[in-house]
């Protein structure tokens, strides 16, 4: 009796993990479809048949479509995985790199680049965004290293930093010329269309190495959710893990937004969508977050390009308009508590 009960219980867990793997595979398939679709959809409307028959105009395809899709994949997965990890490390479902002020730091850095170097220099903007994202992250990490820093302290510090940088950005807008203000606002919408191959290389360099580094820590992130003391008693070096994971998350976020602007929300919603699908085990949650984040970005971008064609709606706006109702829908429909 007891043995058969144990067998049934263990089998139920096996079925659960099997279901999760299947859902991750389904997400992957969906993402591949979305990527293919993104390659052929655009304001120069080339149907799938045309692409198959004659191929796309080489320049449009290789210099616009492909980089755009790749950048979308990178940005979406980077933001979502960064968000999932931040939520685990701070044990807070509200957290994301944005909550820590990293995005506001990036926004301020970009605005500073625009005002100092002029809107023409993309590098000044990206460089400013990246440096300030990293400065913010390092500052937050500094706070974390202080002895009594609880996850709550970190979130508070992040929110405070967020206000500081928002005020800084407002000040720059107040001081800037009309053209500069326009550029700052445009950057803050988020945009994938300006991605060049060099941008992609740099963003990939910041995002891709962090993914396996975080995936390998999946079990330790699981333990962290159960509390620092318990994680430590199970062999996790808690402080080291928290610092490493936060730094990697900040790096991914900086890489994701420095060229494309603030595509907020993905860092918060991506992981929650993934959690609703595959649960809280990071062995499944992290890959699922990467896939769902990338999917959200690509779908939003496609809609932004086609909905009001020939006008393009910046992706940051679409993600919010699309993502918020979608997210509420998921929250309302869920059958049970998940966090």
């Amino acid at each position: 009796m007891e043995a058969s009960e144990a067998k049934a219980g263990i089998e139920a867990y096996g079925a659960l993990t099997g279901r999760r793997s299947a859902r991750i595979a389904a997400l992957g398939a969906l993402l591949s479809l979305a990527a293919l679709f993104s390659l052929v959809v655009g304001s120069s409307s080339t149907g799938i048949m045309d692409v198959l028959r004659v191929g796309l105009d080489g320049v449009i395809f290789w210099e616009l479509r492909v980089p755009r899709v790749i950048m979308g994949l990178l940005v979406g997965s980077g933001l979502a995985v960064g968000g999932a990890v931040t939520q685990a490390v701070l044990r807070n479902p509200l957290a994301s790199p944005f909550t820590l002020g990293v995005a506001s730091g990036a926004g301020f850095g970009a605005a500073l680049g625009i005002v100092l170097a002029g809107a023409v220099s993309k590098w000044a903007v990206a460089g400013g965004a990246f440096s300030f994202a990293l400065i913010t992250a390092l500052f937050i990490l500094g706070v974390a290293r202080m002895k009594s820093a609880t996850p709550e302290t970190l979130v508070l510090a992040g929110v405070a930093i967020m206000f500081l940088f928002s005020a800084g950005t407002s000040l720059l807008q107040f001081l800037g010329t009309e053209q500069q203000i326009q550029s700052i606002v445009f950057w803050s919408f988020g945009n994938l269309s300006r991605a060049s191959w060099t941008d992609i290389l740099i963003a990939a360099g910041m995002i891709l190495p962090a993914l396996p580094a975080l995936f390998l820590r999946a079990w330790d992130l699981n333990l962290l959710l159960a509390g620092d003391e318990m994680a430590a008693s199970l062999g996790v070096r808690v402080e080291r893990l928290r610092l490493t994971a936060l730094l990697l998350a900040a790096l991914m976020t900086a890489g994701a937004i420095c060229f494309t602007g603030v595509i907020g929300f993905i860092g918060l919603v991506g992981p929650h969508v993934a959690r609703l699908m595959v649960g809280g085990d990071h062995r499944f949650l992290l890959p699922a977050s990467a896939l769902s984040g990338a999917l959200l970005v690509l779908v939003s971008d496609c809609l932004g390009r086609t909905l009001f064609a020939p006008h393009m709606v910046p992706i940051g706006i679409v993600t919010a308009f699309l993502g918020v109702p979608f997210f509420f829908g998921l929250l309302m429909r869920r059958k049970r508590e998940f966090w």
Partner: protein, 257 residues
């Protein structure tokens, strides 16, 4: 197997442990008793390696801090006083966390079996697939205990493992712990508030008062009306009933702490 020699621990504003010594043998159930603020939790956290006290704590003759965390986790399981109210996973997954010291990526069949055994020892088999956040406080506490049992360590350090449990489940948990001590030679040290529970199940009790050991011995010797008055400031009546010793609180003693 676990020894503390003359350990001191200070929080910035307050001295908590002032020279505590104790030892725990395999198969022994040791209850740490004492009023609120006596230093029970601090003592257990020092013994589990969560805090680094002054003085020596030794695990199998080795200084505790020199044992690598991953190895320590296979020797000693610690259940903190506070169980997180929410965890985004099922009860079974929460218990499976206890297998972390043995896992690389995918849990092996023996990990799943150990987790299941721990779960059913705690009588949680039926809740295995429920979300951890949905079950009751007492059930969460038992799940945390099951997680420690799944660790299959030779030592269990538990901070008030019965604090959220009703009468029946208190008995159930204590019976399981005593069973492990007897059958597997597991050493168990736990903080408790309930004198009767300690007197009935523990092989030995330590009575802690203001960071010092006030009494150390079998319950019948360490828990006297006199020692309890001194430590708790409460007059108790000690009754020898058929099933064992019982303490009946009478009134707060005058002129003491």
């Amino acid at each position: 197997m676990l020894t503390a020699r003359n350990i001191f621990y200070d929080y910035p504003e307050r001295q908590v442990l002032r020279g505590v010594s104790l030892s725990l043998a395999p198969g022994e159930v040791l209850a740490v008793l004492g009023p609120n603020g006596a230093g029970k939790s601090t003592l257990l956290r020092c013994l589990a390696g969560a805090l680094s006290p002054k003085g020596q704590v030794e695990l199998d003759g080795r200084a505790l801090e020199s044992v690598p965390p991953a190895e320590r986790a296979r020797l000693l399981a610690f259940v903190p006083q506070h169980v997180p109210p929410r965890l985004p996973m099922t009860v079974f997954e929460a218990v499976l966390l206890g297998r972390r010291p043995y896992l690389s990526w995918r849990p092996r069949p023996q990990d799943l079996e150990a987790a299941w055994e721990a779960l059913s020892l705690m009588g949680l088999g039926e809740l295995a697939q429920r979300e951890f956040s949905e079950i009751s406080g007492g059930q969460r506490q038992k799940a945390a205990l099951a997680r420690a049992l799944a660790q299959e360590s030779r030592l269990l350090v538990m901070d008030e493992p019965t604090s959220s449990l009703d009468l029946k489940h208190q008995l159930q948990v204590m019976t399981v712990l005593c069973g492990l001590a007897e059958e597997r030679d597991t050493g168990v040290i736990l903080a408790v508030h309930d004198l009767n529970l300690a007197a009935r199940f523990a092989h030995r009790v330590i009575l802690l008062h203001d960071g010092r050991v006030e009494a150390d011995g079998p319950p019948s010797e360490a828990l006297t009306e006199e020692s309890i008055r001194r430590v708790y400031g409460v007059e108790v009546l000690r009754l020898e009933a058929g099933a064992g010793t019982m303490f009946f609180p009478m009134s707060a003693a005058s002129g003491t702490a």
